[in-house]
């Protein structure tokens, strides 16, 4: 996988390293979470990162990929998630792009602080966790320009994890 040539699996449509960045295209299948994670871990093995940062990167990947496949795509559709992972000084930046339903995680109400085991809410924890772990999080909805054929509207989410 650690070459510009591409590799494939059930969950991963393509994986390549281009100019020091990992470029993944993930299929609309739950297998994309684990197959994509393996590509991410292999790529990160070549980076100098401490254990907590590696874990944070895997958490962000797991939460956002699983959220898109569970809630952003039509079942069994041919939709896909493009993931770019780019190490930069002091951070690792993810860019997630998908052609699913519009979804801006910045508009999600933060999970309520836990007060008691009886009242603790267990929905929506994933996006709140991503927001808490991130040094930077931004969202835009990409739309085709006039005359631009074959371009499906996309969600683009950029998440930076401090190293």
């Amino acid at each position: 996988m650690a070459k510009p040539s591409q590799s494939k699996s059930d969950g991963v449509r393509s994986a390549a390293i281009v100019d020091g960045r990992l470029e993944l295209v993930l299929n609309n299948r739950m297998a994309a979470i684990e197959d994509g994670r393996r590509c991410l871990v292999e790529f990160l093995a070549g980076q100098v990162l401490d254990e907590v940062v590696r874990h944070r990167l895997e958490v962000v990947f797991e939460e956002l990929v699983s959220n898109t496949i569970r809630h952003g795509f039509a079942m069994h559709s041919d939709q896909s998630i493009h993931v770019r992972v780019e190490p930069r000084p002091g951070l690792v930046e993810f860019t997630f792009e998908d052609d699913g339903w519009p979804f801006n995680p910045l508009e999600v109400e933060p999970a309520e602080p836990f007060k008691s085991i009886e009242t603790a809410k267990i929905g929506g924890l994933g996006i709140s966790l991503v927001a808490e772990l991130s040094a930077h999080l931004s969202y835009e909805r990409l739309a085709p320009h006039a005359g631009q054929l074959g371009f499906a509207p996309r969600n683009r989410l950029v998440v930076a994890i401090a190293t």
Binding site: H55, E63, F114, A120, S128, L129
Partner: protein, 111 residues
Amino acid sequence: MEMRHDNVGEVRRIVLVGRLDTAGVDVVETRFGAAIVPNGKNTIVNLTEVTFLASMGIRMLISTTRALSRKGGKLVMYGAGPGVRDVIETAALTEIIPLAGNESEALGLVG
């Protein structure tokens, strides 16, 4: 994802091994609840060999602890490594489920 369980005196001891991610929770959640909730015993959960924790795992821990508390039992986690501990603390899970450093501390907390 694997799970072992036994008793330390009157306390239930659970050892989780592997990744508490989407796939891991799917595999272990039913057995985890079945090993803890029905008898209502105070429970300690060893996270030493848990290598990954995200929201699905947090959800499993909360729902099982809630079901146990309704039977009068307490649950305490212990032994989390740096990455797992980071997520537990970031999510402020320790507000509702105590996290001990080791087994003897965990046993002290469940009383």
